[in-house]
Assembly symmetry: C2
Homo-oligomer: 129 residues x 2
Amino acid sequence: MDAAAALDELKFDANGLIPLIVQDAKNNQVLMMAWMNREALELTLSTGKIHTYSRSRKRLALKGESSRHFQHVKEFWTDCDKDVVLFKVDQDVAACHEGYRSCFYRRNDNGAWTTVGDRAFDPDKVYQK
Amino acid sequence: MDAAAALDELKFDANGLIPLIVQDAKNNQVLMMAWMNREALELTLSTGKIHTYSRSRKRLALKGESSRHFQHVKEFWTDCDKDVVLFKVDQDVAACHEGYRSCFYRRNDNGAWTTVGDRAFDPDKVYQK
């Protein structure tokens, strides 16, 4: 099976998208959930950096294009139904635009959302207005 | 903030669904990705067992209802945009209907899908025809 044939097996939805889970290769922390189209997936594999399809901006996006906090691909997985992709990555600095290592920084404790973890960077400094 | 108010902050999509990531509380392995509606989320929190909304069957589903391999809730997280939920669970036996511990048992090695890991159970024995 060549690489294109393996991608042909994946099931994109009616909008041509597939859910993406990104995990820290070091400790398996989930860093973010996003979406890819076929082009984002091919760019990710050819460059070694995670690219997504931004549904809000309706365009391809290199993860970290503003912050320069890239996600470097280490492993590429899919699930039993081949309708979700999962990448393990080396994360530069932090994944979340709010400055946290992971986008999942809110835990529900006794019914309330609690922020867990310190900011790795200051969003106001990294994203110049 | 009470528990219902915390759920009110979550953003369900136009179909009333929110993506769900389930992680093994022991080692952070991602076990599956699925979808919840508000009712599945409330049932999950009230029973302590993961419930999903099955888009293919168009109904609520208790994860493990056929196999009796339940997912027992340990932690409940959301992301920066509050449009994804993540649960860490104690997994009974295995998560995948194919018999593997995780639904993510296929890794892309040099362009080809490779099965990683042994089956924890035999689907033909667990799912009686």
